[in-house]
C-alpha cells in the first residue's frame, strides 16, 4: 500500500469554488496519512502561505502551486515550481495575467507558457470531452516538446459511470504521447460533510437558487480528500499514476521559506550599512539631548546596535529612517507606533517619540534574537498627505520593487446571511431581515425573540439550515482588496517574489499576500498608516503660529502642565484624541491622571485585556488608596511597581511569564505571537496549562495565575503594548494642551479635519462656546473654505460655570469664523473661486452671481445657510433674490450685460417690492440644522421649554446638582443610542437640550416596552431614577415618551431633524465583535457597575488591529 501526494487541492481561495480553508486541507491531509499535499487555487497563490504555515506546524510535506486557467481553449494546468527560479516564473506568469485584466480577474494565454513556463512541473487537467478527441495524444506530444519533460496528464475518477473508459483512453493517450499520468481527485473540500457548502457556493457564484441549479451542481460528494488506501483502490487499473505522484513530490525542491531576506540595498557609498546606522543614531542622540547624551542612553544604543548587527536588520532601519526624513522635509507630521517605540535607536533616528528616560523600554519586545523575524515598525502620517509618502516610496524603489500588501475581505455576518438566503430562494425582505436589520446580530446567540423580530421562525428547518450555512460561510474570503498602509519592498523584482495585481485606484499595485502571510515569510513590510489626529494637530499648530505667532512642534509643547491635568481630571475632554468616549470620560474622574505615565495607563486601561483579566477594578481601588499596594511575590515588584502591582500591559504579562512561570524569552515571545493570531488559529490553550502550573509551582495562588492568563487571552484581540500606549499618550497630551490653552484654535482645527472622532460639529462648537470662545456664523464676505480665526476680545464671563476654573488657563484672543466646508452640498472648488472673486466684498445677490461665476443652485445653498447677513438680507429675502437669477452661472449668460455689471448698476428688471411672511426663530434654527447641521442661534429644545416646563420636565443641567436616587424627568434631542451585544440588551442613550446632555440607561425590560420610541423618536422625554457615583451621572429610565410631534410646532420639516452623531448604532449598526462569552463572575460584576465600559471597547478600537 504505497503513499500518495494529492496535487489537485483547491481551497476557498479559489473564490466561490473551494469549500475549505487552506489550513483545514493541510490538517486533514496530515490526519489521513497522505505523504504530501500540493495546493493549486484558480489563477492565484493567495492561500499558499496559510497552508505553508499549517504544514510547517504539522511537519507535513507541502508544495505551493497554482491552477492555470487559460482564456483560450488550452486545457487547465496545475503548475508546481521545481525551484526558486520556477517560483519566480510562476509569479511573473500570474502577474502578467493579473495586470492584463482589470481588477480581480486574470487572463492567460498559451503563448505565456513559452516564456514563463520553465522550471515548473505542469499537470494537464483534460475534460473527458477533450480526451475523446482523436488528435489529443498528438496535442500532448507537441505540448511536451514545448514545456519540457515535467509535463504530466491528470487522471481523475469522476464517478459518472464512464471512469473505466476515461482511464483506458487516458492510458492510451499517455502511452502514445509519452506523457506520464498523475493520479489526483481534484478535491474542493476536506471532508464529505462540506458538499452542501460547495453546492451553496456554486449557487452564489452562478446567481441561481440551489433548486434551479440542476446540472451546475456536482452529482455526488466525491470531490473530497481521500486516504491513500482509498486512492490506491480507485487507481488499481493504473497504479503507476499513484507512484508518479510520489516521484513528482520528490523532485519538487521549492519551499516558501526560501523567500526570506529580501531587504532593499540601502548602503551609502563609502561606508557599510552598520556604520551609516551608527553615525545616524549618534547624530540623532545629540539632537535629542542637546545638553549631553545621558550615559544610560549611549550604552543602550550600543547594545541595540550590536543586536541589530547580529541579525543584519540595518537596511530595515535605514529604509524607515529615510521615509520619515523625507516626510518631515515635506512638513508632513509623522510618528512611529507599535513595538518600535521600545527601541532607543528608533527614538534617536526620530522615528518614534517615546523618550527612554521617561518610560523604561523593553528592546527584546521589539526584536528578540531567537526568532529571526523582521521587526514591524508602523508609522502614522497625516491622513490627507499620506498619498505623497506612498508615491515617494514608488519613485524611490520603482514599481517592480515596491507594492501594497493585500487584505483579504471575508464574508461578514450581514453579507453571509443575505447571500445564503438568496441561494435558498428566500424572498427579498427575509434576506434583509437575515442580513442583520436587528442590532448587533451574530448568529450564535440569535435568541428566539430577535429571530421572530426579524420575521424568522427559528424552529423551521429551512431557517436553521440557512443560519447554519451562513455561519460556516463567515470567514470565507470574498476577494482581495488593498491594505490600508502595509508596504512590501524587496531587493529582487517584487513580481518574482509574489504575484502583483491591479488595485481599484490607478497608480498603485498590490501583492496577493496579506500582512500575516508576509510576516510569516519574514518579508520586509512597513506600515504607512493614516491618523486623523495628526492632521488636526498640524492644522492647530499652523493656526497657532499664524494667529498667535507661537511657532511650536509637538515635541516643543510644554510638558506636565498642571492646568492641563486639571482639565483632564474633570473629564472636560470632548474632541480630544482617544479619551473622548463616554467610557473614558467616566474613567477619568476615577483615575485622576496627574502625570504622563497616568495618561499611558488611561489609554491602555479601557481594553479587553485588562478588563477580562479583571485588573481594572483592583488598580482603581489601589489608585484611590482604598486598598494598599501588595505584590504576590517580591520578584514581581520590579515588573509591576509602576502599575501599583496590577499587570495592565502586554510587556508586563510577558515579563510575568518569564519571571513567575519560568518561561524562556523565546517561549514568552511565542506566547505573544500566539496571542496575536489567537483568534484565527486558536493555539493558545497549550500555553494556559504550562503557565498556570509554572506559577503555582513557584508559590503563586492559582486564582492570580488564572487571572493573569485570562488577561493574556484578552490581549489576543486587543492587547496593548506599553510602548504603543506611550506614543498615543503623547498625542493625547498634545491635544489636551491645545484644548486647555487655546480652545479656539482647537475648535477650528478639529472642525477643519471632520469627519473625525466621536462627536458631531454641533457638540464641538457648543463645547468651545462653553469655554468662552465666540463662534461667528458662515458669511459670504468673511468666511473661507476652512474655519478660521478672527480678532475678537475674550470675555471670561462667557465661560460656563462648570468650566469656571479654566478661566486663568485660557489664552484665547480670537473668535472662530465657521468656514464654507460646514455647509452641506458645496464643493471646495466653487468656494475657492467665490473667495478669489470677493475683492472688497459683495453688495448684492446678483453681484455675487455675476462676479463669482457660481450656479444658482450653489448660491441657493448659501442662502439656505443664512450666509447673506453681512448684506442685511434675511434667509428668506436672500432665497427670494436667488430664485430670480437665471439657471446657469453668470459667465455663460449674455455678453451684452458684461459692461453693465462692471459699473455695479442696479438690477435692470425693476420688480415690485414683495413682503414675505416673517420666519419664526424656531423655524430659523431648524433651517440652520438642515443646512449646517448646527445652529449658533439657539438649541431647538429651547423653544419648547415653556410647554415642557408645564409638564414638569426639567432641563438637563439640573441633573448635576440633584442627589442620587431622586426620580426626575428630562427631555432632549436623541444624540447617540448604543447597545453593546454583551451587556444583555442594555441600551445607552445620550439626550441633549439647550442646557446640557443627559446619559440615560435603558434596561432590557424597559426597552422591550418602549422599543418603537427608542428606535424611532427624534425628541424624547425620559422619566427615571438618578444614579451618581464618583462624579459619573446616569439616569436609569423607567418611562420613555416620544415627543417628536412637539418639534413640528417649530416648523413642518423639523420632524426630520437629524442630529445623530457618528457613534449612533441605529444609523450605523456596528459589526458585533466576538467578545468572549465565558467571562467569570468578577468581570460580570464590573460590567454591571460600569456598563458603559463594555460598549466602549468596540467603539474605541479600530477593527481588527493587532499590535505586536
Amino acid at each position: 500500500m504505497s503513499g500518495f501526494v494529492e496535487f489537485g487541492t483547491a481551497s476557498n481561495f479559489s473564490f466561490l469554488q473551494g469549500a475549505s480553508h487552506p489550513e483545514e486541507m493541510v490538517r486533514q491531509a496530515a490526519s489521513l496519512g497522505l505523504s504530501g499535499l500540493g495546493l493549486a487555487d484558480r489563477n492565484t497563490v493567495a492561500g499558499v502561505v496559510r497552508a505553508h504555515a499549517m504544514a510547517k506546524e504539522e511537519g507535513f510535506r507541502y508544495h505551493p502551486g497554482a491552477r492555470l486557467v487559460f482564456s483560450d481553449d488550452t486545457p487547465d494546468m496545475l503548475a508546481y515550481p521545481v525551484n526558486r527560479a520556477g517560483w519566480g516564473h510562476l509569479c511573473r506568469l500570474l502577474s502578467r495575467g493579473n495586470l492584463r485584466a482589470e481588477k480581480g480577474s486574470c487572463t492567460l494565454f498559451e503563448e505565456d507558457l513559452d516564456d514563463h513556463g520553465k522550471e515548473m512541473a505542469l499537470i494537464v487537467v483534460a475534460e473527458p470531452a477533450r480526451l475523446f478527441l482523436p488528435d489529443f495524444a498528438g496535442y500532448l506530444a507537441r505540448l511536451r516538446a514545448r514545456t519540457g519533460p515535467q509535463l504530466h496528464l491528470a487522471l481523475v475518477p469522476r464517478y459518472d459511470g464512464c471512469d473505466r473508459r476515461v482511464f483506458a483512453a487516458s492510458m492510451a493517450a499517455s502511452a502514445s504521447s509519452g506523457v506520464p499520468l498523475l493520479a489526483t481527485n481534484l478535491p474542493l473540500y476536506h471532508e464529505v460533510s462540506r458538499r452542501p457548502m460547495a453546492d451553496v457556493l456554486v449557487s452564489i457564484r452562478e446567481h441561481v437558487p440551489i433548486n434551479e441549479a440542476g446540472y451546475l451542481l456536482c452529482a455526488n460528494g466525491e470531490r473530497h480528500l481521500k486516504a491513500p488506501a482509498e486512492i490506491n483502490r480507485l487507481f488499481r487499473l493504473c497504479p503507476e499514476a499513484v507512484r508518479n505522484s510520489l516521484s513528482l513530490s520528490q523532485n519538487l525542491a521549492f519551499s516558501l521559506d526560501e523567500l526570506e531576506y529580501e531587504y532593499p540595498d540601502e548602503s551609502v557609498p563609502g561606508e557599510t550599512v552598520a556604520e551609516t546606522l551608527r553615525r545616524l543614531a549618534f547624530e540623532g542622540a545629540e539632537k535629542r539631548y542637546p545638553d549631553g547624551v545621558p550615559e544610560r542612553v549611549t550604552n543602550q544604543i550600543k547594545h541595540e546596535l550590536s543586536m541589530i548587527h547580529t541579525l543584519e536588520y540595518e537596511p530595515y532601519f535605514l529604509t524607515v529612517h529615510d521615509i520619515v526624513r523625507h516626510a518631515r522635509s515635506k512638513g508632513i507630521l509623522c510618528q512611529g507606533r507599535g513595538s518600535a517605540a521600545n527601541s532607543t535607536v528608533c527614538f534617536c533616528l526620530g522615528i518614534t517619540e517615546v523618550d527612554p528616560l521617561l518610560t523604561d523600554l523593553l528592546f527584546e519586545r521589539f526584536i528578540s534574537p531567537e526568532r529571526r523575524e523582521p521587526p514591524d515598525i508602523d508609522v502614522d502620517f497625516e491622513h490627507e498627505r499620506r498619498e505623497e509618502v506612498i508615491q515617494y516610496i514608488y519613485e524611490k524603489y520603482g514599481r517592480n520593487h515596491a507594492g501594497l500588501a493585500a487584505s483579504v475581505t471575508t464574508y461578514r455576518a450581514r453579507m453571509a446571511g443575505r447571500e445564503v438566503a438568496k441561494a435558498f430562494g428566500l424572498s427579498e425582505d427575509v434576506q434583509s431581515a437575515l442580513a442583520g436589520s436587528i442590532w448587533g446580530w451574530s448568529n450564535n446567540d440569535l435568541s428566539e425573540r430577535e429571530a421572530r423580530a426579524a420575521g424568522l421562525d427559528i424552529t423551521e428547518p429551512l431557517t436553521q439550515r440557512v443560519l447554519g450555512y451562513a455561519s460556516s460561510l463567515m470567514g470565507f474570503p470574498r476577494h482581495l482588496s488593498q491594505h490600508v498602509g502595509g508596504f512590501v519592498i524587496t531587493r529582487s523584482r517584487l513580481d518574482e517574489v509574489v504575484p502583483i495585481m491591479n488595485t481599484a485606484m490607478d497608480g498603485r499595485t498590490m501583492v496577493e499576500w496579506d500582512k500575516d502571510d508576509l510576516d510569516h515569510l519574514k518579508i520586509l513590510k512597513i506600515d504607512i498608516l493614516a491618523l486623523g489626529m495628526l492632521t488636526c494637530l498640524r492644522r492647530g499648530l499652523n493656526l497657532l503660529a499664524e494667529h498667535y505667532g507661537d511657532r511650536r512642534s509637538i515635541a516643543s509643547i510644554p510638558k506636565e502642565q498642571e492646568s492641563v491635568y486639571d482639565m483632564i481630571e474633570r473629564a472636560d475632554t470632548i474632541g480630544v484624541f482617544q479619551i473622548e468616549s463616554r467610557a473614558q470620560m467616566s474613567m477619568l474622574p476615577r483615575l485622576k491622571p496627574r502625570g504622563f505615565y497616568d495618561l499611558v495607563i488611561e489609554v491602555a486601561i479601557v481594553r479587553p485585556g485588562p478588563i477580562q483579566g479583571d485588573m481594572v477594578h483592583p488598580y482603581l481601588r489601589r489608585r484611590q488608596k482604598k486598598e494598599e499596594v501588595t505584590y504576590p511575590k517580591e520578584e514581581l515588584k520590579a515588573v509591576l511597581d509602576r502599575t501599583l502591582g496590577v499587570p495592565l500591559f502586554q510587556e508586563q504579562a510577558m515579563k510575568i511569564a518569564i519571571v513567575a512561570a519560568g518561561f524562556s524569552a523565546a517561549e514568552a515571545d511565542k506566547l505573544r505571537r500566539a496571542m496575536a493570531t489567537f483568534r484565527r488559529v486558536g493555539t493558545i490553550h497549550s500555553f494556559r496549562k504550562k503557565m498556570v502550573e509554572g506559577m503555582v509551582a513557584r508559590g503563586y495562588e492559582a486564582d492570580f495565575a488564572d487571572r493573569c492568563f485570562r488577561q493574556i487571552e484578552g490581549f489576543g484581540e486587543y492587547g496593548f503594548p506599553e510602548s504603543h500606549a506611550a506614543s498615543f499618550a503623547l498625542l493625547v497630551y498634545a491635544s489636551c494642551w491645545l484644548k486647555a490653552w487655546y480652545p479656539d484654535v482647537f475648535c477650528a482645527a478639529i472642525l477643519n479635519s471632520q469627519p473625525m472622532g466621536f462627536y458631531a460639529p454641533a457638540q464641538l462648537v457648543r463645547d468651545a462656546r462653553e469655554h468662552g470662545v465666540e463662534v461667528r456664523p458662515v458669511d459670504i464676505n468673511c468666511s473661507g473654505w476652512d474655519s478660521d480665526l478672527e480678532d475678537a476680545c475674550f470675555d471670561p464671563r462667557r465661560i460656563a460655570p462648570r468650566h469656571a476654573q479654566m478661566a486663568p488657563v485660557i489664552r484665547t484672543r480670537k473668535a472662530v469664523r465657521l468656514g464654507f466646508h460646514q455647509i452641506k452640498g458645496l464643493t471646495e472648488a466653487d468656494m475657492r473661486c467665490l473667495v478669489a472673486a470677493r475683492g472688497t466684498g459683495y453688495r448684492s445677490v446678483r453681484d455675487l452671481w455675476l462676479r463669482s461665476g457660481l450656479t444658482r443652485a450653489a448660491i441657493e445653498k448659501l442662502a439656505d445657510a443664512d450666509a447673506f447677513r453681512s448684506m442685511g438680507l434675511s434667509r428668506r429675502q436672500a432665497l427670494w433674490e436667488v430664485r430670480a437669477l437665471e439657471e446657469k452661472a453668470a459667465a455663460e449668460s449674455l455678453p451684452l450685460f458684461e459692461r453693465v455689471s462692471g459699473s455695479g448698476a442696479k438690477d435692470l428688471q425693476a420688480e415690485p417690492a414683495v413682503a414675505l411672511p416673517f420666519m419664526s426663530p424656531g423655524e430659523a434654527v431648524v433651517q440652520d440644522y438642515r443646512s449646517l447641521s448646527l445652529s449658533l442661534e439657539a438649541h431647538p429644545v429651547q423653544f419648547l421649554r415653556p410647554t415642557l416646563q408645564q409638564q414638569g420636565v426639567q432641563p438637563c443641567a439640573v441633573l448635576n446638582d440633584l442627589p442620587s436616587g431622586r426620580t426626575i424627568s428630562v427631555a432632549g434631542l436623541v444624540l447617540v443610542r448604543q447597545r453593546p451585544g454583551s451587556a444583555k440588551g442594555v441600551i445607552f442613550m445620550t439626550l441633549e437640550d439647550e442646557t446640557g446632555i443627559a446619559n440615560v440607561i435603558v434596561w432590557p425590560k424597559v426597552f422591550a416596552v418602549y422599543r418603537p420610541v427608542v428606535l424611532g423618536a427624534r425628541l424624547v422625554e425620559v422619566r427615571g431614577r438618578l444614579q451618581k457615583s464618583d462624579g459619573v451621572i446616569h439616569l436609569i429610565a423607567a418611562e420613555v415618551v416620544d415627543r417628536t410631534p412637539l418639534l413640528s410646532t417649530l416648523g413642518d420639516q423639523a420632524a426630520g431633524l437629524d442630529v445623530l452623531s457618528r457613534a449612533d448604532e441605529v444609523k450605523r449598526p456596528v459589526q458585533e465583535s466576538r467578545v468572549k462569552k465565558n467571562k467569570t463572575g468578577e468581570a460580570q460584576a464590573l460590567f454591571r457597575e460600569m456598563p458603559e465600559l463594555v460598549n466602549d471597547i468596540r467603539r474605541v478600537m479600530p477593527k481588527g488591529r493587532n499590535f505586536h
Binding site: 478527441l133 482523436p134 495524444a137 473505466r164 483506458a168 502514445s176 483502490r233 488499481r236
Partner: protein, 318 residues
Amino acid sequence: MAEAALAQGKLLSLRETIARMEGKPLHRLEPVPDSAVGRPGDVSVAVVNHDRIAFGIEALDAALGGGLVRSGMAEIRSGSLRDSGASTGLALSVAAFVMTRQEPQQGRAVFFVGEPSVCRETGELLAEGLEDHGLALDRLVYARPRKLDEALWLAEAALSSRAFAVVVLEIAGNPARFGLSESRRLSLKARDSDCLLLLLRQGGREEAGSTIFRLEASPASSGLHLLPDGTPLRGTIGSAAFSLAIEKVSASASPLPSQGIVLEWNAHERLFTCPSDALPAFCPEPRPANPGAGLPLPADRSDRPQTLGAVLAFDRAS
C-alpha cells in the same frame, strides 16, 4: 414515335394505380436484381421503390422484399415480458430510423400508445433514455389509455390525422378483443394514410394478422465501446443489439431465412449495422479492487461464499 412513348406512359400509370389498389409493391421498369448470378461487370441495382425504406442490411432487406414499408402495418413480437427491453428498443429504433428517412419539411411525429399492464411490469418510458436512443423528444406524443378499445380509437384517429409518420401500438400478449377484423381494419387505415403502424406485442404468442411482416425480437449481446484510436474496449456495453426472427412476410417472393439476424443500433447516427466481429479488444483485465485474500465475509450472510458455479439458496426476493 411520340405516340408510342405517350401510350407507354399511359400504360405505366394504369399499371401503377392497379398495383396501388391491390397493395402490391410497385415495380419500376428497372431490371430485377439477379443476385444469384455474380457475373463480373453486371451492375446489381437494388430494387428502388418509393414506399419501401431499405435497412441497409443485405439479408434483412432481401427477406422483407426491399426493406421496411413506408405505410402499412407491421408487427414486432417479444416472447416473454422479460425481453420487452429488446422489443421496445427495436420498435423505437425502427421509429427513429423511419423519422430520419422522411422528408424533413413534412415534420411528422411519432405516436406511442402504451399499455398499462406492460408499463407496470417493465417500467414507463424514460424521456432521457428515449433521447439517448435517438428519438427527438419534441416529435414524440405518448398516450397510455386504460382500455384496449380506447387505444384502438386513438391509433385510428392518429392514422387519419396524417400527423404521424410512425404509430407504435403496444399490446399485452394476445387479447381476444384484438382479432383479425381489428387488425384488418387498422392495416387498411394505415395503408391509405401513408403512415407505418407498428404493432408491439409484448409477451405474446405468434398470431395471424393482416400485417405486412412479423418479427420476433429477442435480446442479443451489445457491441463494445471504441477508444479514440478505434480499438474496442472489452467488457464495456456499447451500442444496443437485437436478434430478429422473421416469422411472416406477406408479399415476398424469396423463402424466409432459417436462423435469426442480429442487428446493432447506432443511436448517434440512427443506423442499423451488422455486429462487426470485433478487433482484438484492448482491455486491462479488471483485477479485484482489494488485492487482499479474496472477497471479505459479507456482513449479513452465513459462511464463506461458495464458488459462483453452484446455485445459492437465497431468501425470497421481496
